[in-house]
Structures are given as structure tokens and as C-alpha cells.
Symmetry: D2
Amino acid sequence: MATKKLDETATGVFAIAATPFTDDGALDDASTDRMVDFYLECGVAGLTILGVMGEATKLSPEESTGACRRVVNRVAGRVPVVVGVSAPGLNAIRSLTASVMDIGAAGVMVQPMAGLRTDEQIEGYFHMVCDALGDVPIVLQDYPPSSGVYMSVPMLNRLFNDLSSLVILKHEDWPGLRKLTKFRADERADRRRRASILVGNGGLFLPQELRRGADGAMTGFAFPEILVQVCARHAAGDGDGAEDLFDAYLPLIRYEQQVGVGLAIRKETLRRRGVLASARTRAPGPALDADDQAELSRLIDRLKTRLRATELAVPEI
Amino acid sequence: MATKKLDETATGVFAIAATPFTDDGALDDASTDRMVDFYLECGVAGLTILGVMGEATKLSPEESTGACRRVVNRVAGRVPVVVGVSAPGLNAIRSLTASVMDIGAAGVMVQPMAGLRTDEQIEGYFHMVCDALGDVPIVLQDYPPSSGVYMSVPMLNRLFNDLSSLVILKHEDWPGLRKLTKFRADERADRRRRASILVGNGGLFLPQELRRGADGAMTGFAFPEILVQVCARHAAGDGDGAEDLFDAYLPLIRYEQQVGVGLAIRKETLRRRGVLASARTRAPGPALDADDQAELSRLIDRLKTRLRATELAVPEI
Amino acid sequence: MATKKLDETATGVFAIAATPFTDDGALDDASTDRMVDFYLECGVAGLTILGVMGEATKLSPEESTGACRRVVNRVAGRVPVVVGVSAPGLNAIRSLTASVMDIGAAGVMVQPMAGLRTDEQIEGYFHMVCDALGDVPIVLQDYPPSSGVYMSVPMLNRLFNDLSSLVILKHEDWPGLRKLTKFRADERADRRRRASILVGNGGLFLPQELRRGADGAMTGFAFPEILVQVCARHAAGDGDGAEDLFDAYLPLIRYEQQVGVGLAIRKETLRRRGVLASARTRAPGPALDADDQAELSRLIDRLKTRLRATELAVPEI
Amino acid sequence: MATKKLDETATGVFAIAATPFTDDGALDDASTDRMVDFYLECGVAGLTILGVMGEATKLSPEESTGACRRVVNRVAGRVPVVVGVSAPGLNAIRSLTASVMDIGAAGVMVQPMAGLRTDEQIEGYFHMVCDALGDVPIVLQDYPPSSGVYMSVPMLNRLFNDLSSLVILKHEDWPGLRKLTKFRADERADRRRRASILVGNGGLFLPQELRRGADGAMTGFAFPEILVQVCARHAAGDGDGAEDLFDAYLPLIRYEQQVGVGLAIRKETLRRRGVLASARTRAPGPALDADDQAELSRLIDRLKTRLRATELAVPEI
């Protein structure tokens, strides 16, 4: 299948997809198909699989390529599929990349290996990775709470200038609003070639980030259609409309932004929306208890009540 | 002045106070007085000074006691004043505690020293501190993002059972909702004596936390009157009213929850509200740039617009 | 092959084995065989493979089981083989354990997953792992510089009392001398059932640790015959003889104790001793440069000069 | 007193001095005087006070200046005295620096504030500090195990080129041998102006580091006269003589290299040598127990036995 490769023009919402499991922990192909259909109906511009939210480190290499094939086949070229390939060894990164590009992925996502400290070490790492992956387009994931690796804008500029396969910055440093502004400004000042900026962190600052120059979001919020509309309204010049919609969902967005248990909240929300058959995560992984379930129900009920008082659409859930 | 000491019955909102500086970085007594008056008008149940938000580590011992005296005198016994006394050495903790209790503080706040890892080390530390401080009431600050120290509920139970001077848990582990539920449940199950639970983290989950058993909040949100009302509505059985009010302010609460720069946002907001003469922090410390200022203005404008469409009061700012 | 399983009576030196690669990074079976023969000739009491030093995270599952099979077959039951099975997901731990036990391993080594903080979390983790692994004997690796997880003696006591499959503590907390003493003392005081204590950290404190109650060492020093003799002399009551021998090698032991590059030093030393065909590590991994090579040569030359002035044997290298 | 200021020509051994306390924790002036005399008799090239080993964070500002005055007066200009001034706030750094330079210190030592991550942040920090301190000569302490801040050679080069008050690198990254080589080589290649390199980490790799271009050591080993002689022999071209002497003391050097408890070992050793009246550290701080004491005694006895078999001098202790 001739899939368009990722490039620096990416905009809109790339949904970070969970990896659906059955209640006994096996890969759930039927839920995977429904999930792909769901995301496409939401209007996403792309899909990202096998990231932190995809529990990638708990899959065997065979499961990883299997899950990728299922998604890519179902997407059938309608949007690009990005695959997380971060791993401790370069061999694993290279071999998973080769597999998923062969399957039809549009590019891969790489976060710096844990333990990298100085600019010099980080740059050395990405040079090594990019050398190994040839011309495969790469999303550079800048997510210090997960990686423990911190990257400055000057260093990111050097990386994007030196390594042509880097095309998207997944921006989720926190706090990172000023960093985003500076990264974009350096591009306008010709200190760096064009890069797409897609924001993560559950989209918690999406309206602010769009105004500061983000091109979109790459995140796993369980109502991705809302982020799609926020981006669309912003692009249409309706900043307040975008933020009104966003703010209506902010209590939930905030609620999902709990490290660890956030994944279980998202999977459960997708289950309630009819997308996943099971909210299960693989051990050791989070699960909701009765209090969490009631709390989530209440937040969703309040959301619907609030939306009914507006002209905004009320989701079925 | 006969100040009532802190105890485990504490409820409501304890405002975490910034330390006001003039534009050239000196202690600003006039702003301190205005700030105390402001907080009392907001209806806070107490004040907490010289914490992380008070830039305590950038004050000399003389400045610390001076700032404390100014606040305590202005409060004049109307609410309890808690003073952060965390320091690398036990001598400093002991001597600052003696000074501030002598001045009229109602108790002190202690967070575990950086570098403590195991339950055994943490327990040893608090036993040592409590031994040194005698019967001074203590707020145990559980704030891993700042301390790097992680505390489980079973260990907190042991600490509160063993050390009678511990009376309040400042709960700001994150994610920590389930932890709060468990801590409260263990009390109901007689696994621990009564302790007050006041939540931090900018109050980002305050409605959820109140329903899970929190007694109030201890945090530095620059609209403390709102947190006071949220707590009051919750206490009056109006959970939805509490959360409606909270959600209206959530975009700002979320915005302040940026580590580091959040302090500058709070000081600037208090400056705009007429409380502080200057938003200055001491070096090395954060400051807002033009983009941040415009962003904050926009968030406040949107808040007022939103409130005008409701029966809720619109703040003057 | 009926291999004796690991148990709490383990003593002596378990050599932590590197994973031999050819110059182009493939598994090197011939070197693996030579390495096994070498260790057995050194008199080791056991072998540990696929640990940090074995670059386990850079091997595919097939390579891991292949490397294990090669070692186990070559050992042919003469000493127990322990296999590191730490992984982010429980599935991977369970499946690798099943494979290597089927191949003939005597037990597995597990270090706590990164990110565990409190005693409660760590205990929960090991209960989960032990439940999953049934009666497979387990070496609990206590190596905070690698895991970031810190364990107190009281918690280790609870773990070993509660989980009968834990049989050996690989002790390499640092500084950890007092911890070792306390762990052993608690056993003598019947606060814990018997456990074997094998020390790591390159053996840097081996004489001290033997006197404090260690049963032996589990480490990757490239002259394992020396550690074997140190343990033997100690066991024979010749503490000074043990320490004299140890001290003669201390400059090299110290030199290998450099995190990261230490692995390259060990592999190069084993290459010079005729054990490995190549000192290569897998990317991203350390390699010696000309300065390092000269420095290592000098240290080895000085060692030989020093030994020639004594009655101690001079190694061929 | 006209004290010669620190500059980039520094060589030899700067002793990192403990802060002597009496058994009840007060500053011990008599021991301080004896300690100064002792270090000068050892032949040190300078003294460094109020560092990590000096328990600086447990002293009040008055105690810090008092301790500094006592040392500077006793030294009476014979060698330069360097004072650690690291603190969370710039005000404290500036004011302590002003005080100690006024007293007669030859320069100050600064380590980067905890929490600095990227090259950009670290450079910004040192620019701010150097701006604040004017032309006071500065030792840049590069000690990641204590600071959590990691610095690359290219960034150090930029710092030393940009900031003329930086004159000495206290090098104690670990492993750091290659870093030292590169830092020196960049100087020879005119990528950086001259800087003195004094090594820390207890001197554990001193002979290797001298051969790689270090100018000396700045460390707290309790037999500083040995490090002085090692440096002198190296400078005289007798590399093997230097290393023979070093290796004889290596078991003790290694033993002191235990983070935390190492300070108690050093203070106790200095007590036994008649320098300090008490080995006490301030709470929370380490203390030796009976096992530790016996272990230290044994190591010292073995050292003396070993030295008696050589032409090397046997210390009185």
C-alpha cells in the first residue's frame, strides 16, 4: 500500500491509541478495528500506536508488529500511522522500524533513551538513531516526565537542522508554553528549518499552545473529536469558540492527566463509548476501582449536563 | 498573643502565601499587610507562609522570622498561621520553629528531607524531627514533586499514630486520589487516629478530593475566595454547586499549575488584584514575559465573560 | 538435564557473565563456550547471565533464550545457572522464566521495576512477580544505582519471610555495609528465615562484606578466580590472606567499577585473557579508546609486577 | 591580609576540610586551629571549606562566616582558602561571597543549583552567578552525584571561555576519566583558555587522572599528605612511585568513598590522628557504629603492616 510518509507539514490531531486487550490480556483484534474506525470517524489526521499509552514495553516483538499490521490494514492509507519504536538497544529500534515501515507505517516516534543527560549525549544519541534508520521520517518525542531527558530549544534546533529525517516535534515538556513559543520563533527567524509541532500532555494546554504556534495535538484524550474541533475552530480563526469547547471538556481532560491511572481512565472511557470491549491493561498496570468508576461517571454526567445548556453537541456515552 | 494551636480538626482553606518583595527584591511590608487583609477577607481558615511558594530557601534566617512576625501581627490571632520550617539541618528546623512559635505561629509545616528513600528512613526522619520540636503541632507535607520523597498510606498511618504532634496531612502526591480515600478509610477503620487532610497541588482536584474525604485545601491559588466557597458549598451538601463554581475557574487553576512559572503567575495575579505592589520573585526565579502576560489577561477576560453569563460573582481584576 | 535448583545455601562466587558478541554484533557461540569453560576453571560456584552486564535489554527474546541454552548446555549441570529476567511487563518475565527453566536454569534474578517508590509498592511488585513464577527460585537483586529502587532491611525481611521462592539477596546497595550486617543479624535473631547473601558492586568491598556475613559474591570482575580464592581463604579462616590477595587486585577492581565503561573494560580484559574473541558491546554501548586501552595495560602490568614480588600467582595476560 | 587570589595556575592538593564540632554540636575552634595546622604540615596547596564535607547546609550564615574567619586567620595567608558558597538563592551566594572575600578568602566554589537540566539552563545559571560575584575567582564544582546536574565538555569549554572568573574545574563526575582527557585536550587545541583541573571523588582515580592531565586534587581524604606526595612524585616524573604509594592507601581511599557515611569515617580518622576532638556530625548526619569502628581499625592496622614491609613511611595513628 502506497502510504504517504510523514513530513513537517503535519497538522491536526494524531490520536495516541491504546493497545486493546481482551479481559485475559490477549491482543483484541476486534476492538482494534473498532478503535481505528472510531478514530477515523472522529476526524483525526493520523494515528500513533505503540507509545507509552500503547503499553509498548509490555508487548513482545511479534505482538508489536501484529498490532501494527492490524491497525495499518484497517486504516488502509486514509491517514498516516506513526509507530513508537523506542527501545534500550539500537538493534531493536532498527528492526521494529524496518518491520513497521514494511507493513505501511508513515513514520516512527523515538524518545531519547533514559540516562541521557547533557546536550552532547542527547545529540549523539539522535545522530546514532537517525543514521540507523536512514530516511524513515521520525517524530521526536520530548516528554521528560517519562524519559527523564530534558531538551533545550537551541539543541532541538541543532537536531532538526542536522537530521533531515526529524519532521515532527511531539512537545510535552511541562511547563513548556514558553519553549513552544521559542521553538516556533526560531523557525520564523530562520534559525531552524520548518518542523511540525504536535502537543501532548493530554492536550491540557491545547488552546494556549495553538495560539503559540502549535500545529496540532498528538495525545490520547478519549474524546478526540473535541480536540479535532478545537483545532478546526482555531484554524478557522475562531479562537474563542475553540476555547469554549475545550473548556467544557477541561474537567475530564484534567482528570485523565493523572500519570499511570490516566491510561485506565482512558481505556474505561473508550469502553463506555463502545470502542473497546475491555478496559484491561497488562500487569503491572493500573485499573479503576469503584470510587474511580463513580468519579468518572459523575464527571461524564456533569459534562453532558453542561453541554445540554449550550449549543454544543452532547456525546453519547 | 494567645494563639490557638493547630490541631487535627482543621478544615477549610489555608492560603499558601507568597512572600511579597519590592521591585528591588527587599521584603515588602506594606504588601504583606495588604496580603494578610486580602486573605482574611477571602474567608480563609488559616495562612501558611514560608513554604515553596514563599521562596523560603531564598530568605535569610532574619528575613524568615521578620516575615513571620509581620504576618502574625497583622493576623492578630484571627486565624492560625502555619510556618514552613523545612531545612537541611535539624538545628535550623529547631531554631526557626522556636522563633516562629514564640512570635505566635500556630504550628509548623515540615516536608521530608531530600534523599530519603525507604519507609524506614522517612520514619526515622520524622521521629527525629518530632523529638526535636516537642509538642509543636506539625503539618506533614507530602509533596513528592518537590521533595522527591514518596510516602505510602500504611507508613503515614504509622507516623500519625506514633507521633502525636502530627495533626495535618498536606496531601499533594499526584496522582493521589486513591491515596486520599485510603488514608481517610484507614481512620474510619480505626487503623489511625484522626488527622486533618488539606489538599495542595493548586487545588486541581479539589471537588474530587472533598468527596473523597478531604477537610479542605492548603494551596496558593490566587482566587482563594473561590476555594473557600467551593469548600463551603460542599460542606452545605451542595456538591454540584461547589463543582460548578470550581469548573468556572478551572482554566485558571490549571494554568497556575505549571511548576516554577506558576509562582510568577500567582504573584502577577495578586498584583493585578491590588494585593501585591510587585510580582517580583528572587533570583533565580521565574518572571512572566509579554506572551505570558497576554495569555493570563486572556484567561482572566474569558473567566469574567463566562461568569457574567451565570449567577456567579465576577471578580474585580 | 536434572539441574539442582538454587536455594538459600548458595555460597562462593557466581560469575556475572557478559554476553559475547562478534565484531559485527552477533551472538558469538564459540566465545560463549570458551567463557563458560573459563569460569568453570576459575572455580565459580555458579553463573549468572542476562543481567545488566549481559546487555539483556539489547537482546531479542529469541537471542535471550538462545544465549541461555548455549550456556546451560555447556555448563552441563556442573554449577547452577541463574538468568536475569527483569522486564517492564509481567508477561515477559513469566515467559522468559518458563523458557529458561525449561532449558535447565537453576533459578532467575529479578530486580524491582523502575518507578517503585514506597515499601508498599515494592512489596506489591514482588508478590505479583512471585505469584506469577510459582516455585521458581529467585535471586532478588538490590541494586539501586541501576533500578532507582531502594529497599530497607525490614522490608527485605518481610519479603523473604512472605515469599518462599526468594532464596538469594544480591546485595549491591551502596553504601551498604551496615545494611548487610543488619540483614544477617535479623536472620540470627529469627526475624527472618535464612537467605543467601551474595554481594555485587564489582566486589569492591568483598573482604569487609565477608566479615559482615556475606556468603559470597555475584559479580563480573574479570579475574573471578581471585574472588574465588578470597572467599576460600576467608572460609578457611585466613582473613588476612584473603584481604592481601584482594588488595593486590584492588586497583583493577576499582578501575572496573566505572558505571557504563566498566562493561567495556571487563570485556576487553576477558578478550586479552583469550576468553572472548571481541570486546564489542551492542549500541548504544561503551567502547575503550586508545587512552583507556593504555591505562588498562598499565594497570595490568603494575599488577603483574606487584604479584611477582609476592608468593601470589601471576595471571597470564 | 593581602591574600593571593585563586587563579588558573592552581596545582597540588587542596584539602577539603570538615567543619569540626564539639560533642554537643557547636563549632569547635580549637579543633579548627589544629586542623588548619595539620593540613599545612601535610603540605597542601590550599584549603577548601564549607563544601558538602563541611556540612555547609547545616550552618547558619553567622556560623559560616565565623568558621571561615577562624580558618583564614589561622592559615594567615600561607595558602589560599576556597569557600563553598552554593545556596538556593542568589542573594545568599552573593552575601556569603562578599563576607568571605572580605575576611580573606582566595575565591569561592559554586556547584550548579539542583534542578538544572539542559546546557542552556546550566550556562544561564553560571552567567547569572558570575555576574553577581564580579571578579571573585570561582571554582566550578562538577559533582553530579551531589548536584544531580550533568555538564559536557563542550559546555564547560563555553563557560570557561565566556566567564573569566572561572579558574578551576573541580572534576568529580564519575566515570569521568575520558571527560578529563577531553577537557585538557580542548585546551591544548585552543578550544578553551587554560583552566586548573583539580579532581575530587576522594581521589579514587588520582594516578590515572594525573596522567590524563589533572593539576592536582581537591578532596577530603584523611591522609592528605599521601595525596600531596602522589602529586609530587608524579610531577617529578616518578609515575610508578606515585602509584605505588597511592595503591598502598587505596583500601582506605576506597573505604572512605561511601556516600554519606564517608564523612563520618573521615572525621573519625582525623580524630584518631589527633586533629579533631570529636567525630560528630550535625543531625541528620552519619555516625560510625561498633562494626564500622572495628572495620576502620582493621583497615588502618593492615595499612601499617603493609607499609612496614616497604620503604614507605608509616603514619602515626
